[in-house]
């Protein structure tokens, strides 16, 4: 499904001296259809850059990324991106923010699509609100609805709960799990939060300190649906958490 092969990226720090900063080194992993992968690592390890490369917003320097055997060469509507900073257009209503990305549909299809995904994230009744009238959690719901509304093969999430308060984040995480369950979406979920990673993912990719390399891929074999069991209280959860902590401690 998604196949990363030795993806590397450098940032040019100084144009004239040709000084470069190695950001990512030989990142390789495969994500199977319908699986949710979390990418975790210390801050500055390049995890957001990796996601932006997969989204097509930044170019890689070496390696290849294939989605369903098609090489990624730029942005594409096979991928939907959820931003850490929501990135809603403040002059558009909730409905207009979603409609804005559905320009390829007829107006009937568009209306149906908007309704379906605004309902899915629980924002019915807020269609005509502007972003400045909504809370952080609601803003990110719009962000999620927008990304899902183009019905992408892959959902990419860049620390989606980092700007949401912790209680709202926990609620929203459960709803994301339900959405993953319902839509069977393949997803890459970038986070710096260990609990979030364990809770949401089938597999966790642990990146090292910059330049980011894949230190380990950890299987998360917790029972599903996870919102029905209090999986955070299971001994396996604690074991995964201490394993991750060791890795991230090692990385520092």
């Amino acid at each position: 499904m998604i196949d990363l092969d030795r993806v590397s990226k450098d940032f040019v720090v100084h144009q004239k001296e040709a000084r470069q900063l190695a950001v990512l080194r030989d990142i390789s992993f495969k994500v199977n259809e319908g699986e949710v992968y979390a990418v975790i690592g210390p801050s500055g390890c390049g995890k957001t850059t990796l996601l932006r490369i997969i989204a097509g917003l930044e170019e890689k320097d070496r390696g290849s990324i294939r989605i369903n055997n098609d090489e990624v060469i730029g942005p594409g509507r096979d991928r939907g991106l959820v931003f850490q900073t929501f990135n809603l257009f403040p002059w558009m209503t909730v409905r207009q923010n979603v409609e804005f990305v559905l320009y390829d549909l007829t107006s009937d299809e568009r209306d149906a699509r908007v309704k379906r995904y605004i309902d899915l994230v629980g924002l019915s009744g807020f269609e005509d609100y502007h972003p400045h009238q909504l809370s952080g959690g609601m803003l990110q719901r719009v962000g999620i609805a927008r990304a899902l509304s183009i019905e992408p093969n892959v959902l990419l999430l860049d620390e989606p709960l980092a700007n949401v308060d912790s209680q709202t984040a926990e609620l929203l995480l459960d709803e994301l799990l339900k959405i993953f369950e319902k839509t069977r979406k393949t997803a890459i979920y970038v986070t710096h939060n260990m609990d979030e990673a364990i809770y949401v993912a089938d597999k966790i990719i642990v990146l090292s300190q910059r330049p980011g390399t894949v230190m380990d891929v950890i299987d998360v074999n917790l029972p599903k649906p996870r919102w029905q069991y209090d999986v955070r209280g299971l001994p396996e959860f604690a074991a995964l958490r201490s394993k991750l902590r060791r890795f991230l401690g090692l990385a520092k």
Binding site: A55, G56, L57, P75, G76, R77, R79, L81, F83, T85, F86, N87, L88, F89, P90, W91, M92, F100, V101, Y103, H130, P131, H132, L139, R146, I150
Partner: protein, 292 residues
């Protein structure tokens, strides 16, 4: 003596305070109530206005009326202007001035915003033309008036051109800044969902630049007003600008100052009107900053 005094003070103070507290409390409240009128901003303004007018009246009365007037004189002059009994009709002149200004401002707004967008979108155009825009912006426009007279003579065209030249630059510069400052993350969003260039321009760049464009229009209105008065003073035989020159030449100080007051009122009204439009159009500005 003094040293002892200052040393003993801190010891006494807490006792005094503790014993005095219940008694002073109502007194403080009363003092606060009395003070609140003294601190009322309209009260302060009215007192200041009365004092300034009084000083003006006294200074004006003891000056040769050819050189300076008094508030009473200005009110009389203003009355003459309004009644139309003088040589000039205030209303007609105001209409002429506003027409001159509006014509120049509208052309400047259309050209300024369009050119500003072009400079903001195209790096090449910006690199090529930015030096000229900046050079013309800092050139005192009044220095160009002899050239304008050579080109257009005096009259409507010359005035409109002067207004255009004064008003266009803040609008070019602000629009360009607005287009260039569209947040990176919103452009990323349009890119990642593969929104085409036309929709991106219409639905992202223009709305994001609107607060800057409105600020440019506000500055442009102020500049256009300066431009029209300067132009009418030298390039016209009508309008408020011409009236000022004429009253000055006749040493009619009361009517001269009366006309200047009219200019102040029109200027303030124009600026607050554009500010009102600005607040209506850019209501989302505060959130845009918060969630960049």
């Amino acid at each position: 003596m003094k040293v002892e005094d200052s040393e003993s003070r801190p010891e006494k103070k807490p006792e005094q305070l503790a014993s005095a507290l219940p008694e002073t409390l109502p007194a403080v409240t009363r003092a606060h109530g009395a003070r609140s009128i003294l601190e009322n901003k309209w009260f302060i303004r009215i007192v200041a206005f009365v004092i300034i007018m009084g000083i003006w009246q006294i200074v004006g009365s003891s000056t040769n009326p050819l050189f300076f007037s008094t508030p009473v004189g200005v009110i009389k002059g203003f009355g003459t202007l309004l009644s139309g009994q003088g040589n000039y009709s205030l209303l007609d002149a105001t209409i002429v001035t506003l027409e001159d200004m509006l014509a120049g401002f509208v052309i400047a707004a259309v050209v300024g915003v369009a050119f500003g967008i072009a400079l903001g979108v195209s790096r090449k155009l910006d690199v090529a033309l930015n030096p000229y825009v900046n050079a013309l912006y800092v050139t005192p426009r009044i220095a160009l008036i002899p050239l304008i007279i050579i080109w257009f003579g005096i009259g409507f065209t010359a005035i409109v051109f002067t207004v255009f030249l004064t008003a266009v630059f803040p609008m070019i510069i602000n629009t360009q800044a607005g287009v260039k400052n569209v947040s990176r993350s919103l452009l990323d969003t349009a890119n990642v969902f593969m929104v085409g260039p036309v929709r991106r321009f219409r639905s992202v760049i223009i709305p994001a630049a609107t607060p800057f464009i409105m600020a440019g229009l506000r500055l442009g209105v102020a500049e256009a007003f300066i431009g029209v008065i300067v132009a009418e003073m030298v390039l016209s035989l009508t309008g408020l600008g011409y009236m000022i020159t004429a009253f000055g030449q006749y040493y009619d100080t009361p009517q001269l100052i009366g006309t200047i007051l009219v200019l102040m009122i029109i200027g303030a009204a124009l600026t607050s009107f554009v500010q009102f439009l600005e607040s209506k159009i850019s209501y989302w500005k505060q959130t845009e900053r918060a969630f960049r």
